[in-house]
């Protein structure tokens, strides 16, 4: 990769960030997760999880994938559609988004759905979009177990981690299981890499995960509650302003 060119892209990103002055509440401690589904008939499956640190500024990302048909490097990113200082909720592409109909969903053909690279899930060093194609800093093989802490969360993504997609790139097109560097078809991102290297193999949309139940009852209407001795009618009156048509619940009263 050309550092100078990446620096130019980074500078634009930085400029955009500064000008946008996003003011998002942080979401320290939240956990986001999702199931990864195969693209390009990769045969793979997987899951991903983001745990936001208490300060809301960094995150731990886990990605587990198996049965990848490419025994080679797998670039992995958090993708998302960022417009100004907002993250637009979107979805993973499907193989039907293969715009040119050549049978392979390229990384760029997926971009209208999953958006651009926001975070690069590298093994070490930089995790910004600058490292999107740093193939030598991604895990490789047919099974991926990625777990990295302390990944900076770009400001625009804070509290919007749940609108991101985890994308694992790298497929085998010709059945030999390895990365064919001399493949005629080149990556839609760079002539330096074959199409196999960057076409998406897995994609999953993240959502916030609850780690406990939702405690939305006091028991005042439950027959087996110690509080049920207080009349339901009295409680109803207490909720002035709320319009309830009081009906008895077979399972609770």
């Amino acid at each position: 990769m050309k550092k100078s060119l990446l620096a130019a892209v980074a500078a634009v990103c930085l400029l955009g960030t500064v000008l946008a002055l996003p003011a998002h509440a942080q979401s320290g401690g939240a956990v986001y997760g999702g199931v990864l589904s195969e693209l390009n008939n990769s045969g793979a499956s997987g899951s991903a999880k983001i745990t936001v640190a208490d300060d809301g500024l960094t995150m731990t990302i886990e990605v587990n994938a198996r049965n990848l048909n490419l025994n080679g490097p797998h670039a992995m990113h958090l993708h998302g559609k960022v417009e100004g200082n907002a993250v637009i909720a979107s979805t993973c592409p499907t193989d039907a988004d293969d715009g040119d109909g050549d049978g392979v969903l390229t990384v760029l053909e997926g971009a209208p759905k999953y958006g651009g690279v926001q975070v690069s899930l590298t093994t070490n060093g930089d995790t910004s979009a600058d490292s999107a194609l740093a193939v030598d800093r991604y895990l490789a093989g047919q099974t991926i177990n990625y777990n990295r802490a302390g990944i900076p969360i770009p400001e625009v993504l804070r509290s919007n981690e749940g609108k991101l997609h985890v994308v694992v790139h790298g497929i085998d097109e010709n059945g030999n299981g390895t990365l064919d560097l001399d493949q005629t078809e080149r990556s839609s991102l760079t002539d330096d890499l074959p199409r196999e290297a960057t076409a998406p193999a897995l994609c999953g949309t993240l959502t916030v995960q609850a780690t406990g139940p939702v405690q939305t009852g006091g028991g005042g209407t439950a027959s087996d509650s110690p509080f049920a001795m207080i009349s339901v009618g009295a409680g109803f009156v207490a909720l002035s302003g709320a319009a309830f048509a009081l009906r008895r619940r077979d399972d609770q009263v």
Binding site: S27, A30, N71, A210, P213, G217, A242
Partner: protein, 264 residues
């Protein structure tokens, strides 16, 4: 990345009208320097350039380099191809970049990609469910581990880390079934039927409408993934309250009851 980006230099697309964008991309690589290509692509991929930045100009004077020439200097040229060792080490190219320095922000070829518009959501402040005569305030709640619940039994809470109602994916709200003394805002949630409408309103009176598609009752010991997970790529709504029997020892109901709805 807006519709206006698609108007860039369409005449250079020589493929059929059904699939112009990728062909255009491929051909563009023959006429633009790799650096310029990557700058343009990087802007799209990084998703960070404003529309105006990304569409400033398409340069007609881009340096012409053949793909073969580009590949010859590729840093990946020396990679072992059929090495059984999966950890491929890519050597970093040494020395200065031999390419001429381009004008930044030129040639955004990737903007020829079709743009996909996703629906916008609203931050809800009111919820109406006419079928069960609910018309209540909505407050903003947090999920960090165990979800918060409204302190006011007449209010409903929207979890701000879930989707804005109307966006693609699940917007999740919760309300009490009862207080310690009587019914609360979602007392009759289990009486909703398929097709019943749920209307969420923003401060500016903008609304998003949903219709019930399904319901579920789950033990609080094991809420399934579908309660908070990504379902269909559509605007979805999930309303959570309590259900089942009451556990006097814990002071809580044993189940959660969930209504699933989709945007209409």
């Amino acid at each position: 990345m807006t519709k206006s980006d698609q108007t860039l230099n369409p005449s250079s697309a020589t493929a059929g009208p059904s699939a112009p964008s990728m062909e255009w991309m491929a051909r563009g690589q023959a006429f633009l320097s790799r650096r310029q290509m990557l700058v343009g692509l990087g802007l799209v991929l990084a998703g960070c350039g404003s529309t105006r930045d990304a569409t400033t100009a398409v340069s007609g004077s881009a340096a012409v380099q053949s793909p073969a020439a580009l590949r010859a200097e590729s840093p990946t040229a020396g990679l072992p191809v059929d090495d059984s060792e999966p950890n491929v080490e890519l050597p970093t190219p040494a020395g200065p970049d031999p390419e001429p320095t381009p004008e930044p922000l030129q040639s955004p070829p990737a903007t020829a990609l079709p743009e996909v518009e996703f629906p916008s959501g609203i931050e809800p402040i009111r919820i109406a469910i006419p079928a069960i005569a609910v018309d209540a305030d909505v407050i903003r709640l947090d999920i960090r581990g165990e979800p918060e619940v409204p302190e006011d039994f007449a209010q409903v809470g929207w979890y701000h880390q879930t989707r804005l109602p109307g966006e693609i994916g699940p917007a999740v709200l919760a309300g009490h079934i009862d207080s310690r003394t009587g019914p609360a805002v979602f007392y009759q949630l289990d009486e909703l039927d398929t097709g019943d409408e749920i209307i969420l309103s923003a401060a500016g009176s903008e609304t998003r409408r949903f219709a019930v598609t399904d319901t579920g009752q789950y033990s609080k010991d094991a809420l399934p993934a579908e309660v908070f997970g990504f379902g269909e790529p559509l605007p979805e709504l999930r309303l959570i309250t309590c259900g089942g029997t009451f556990d006097a020892s814990s002071g809580h109901y044993r189940d959660n009851y969930v209504v699933y709805a989709r945007g209409i």
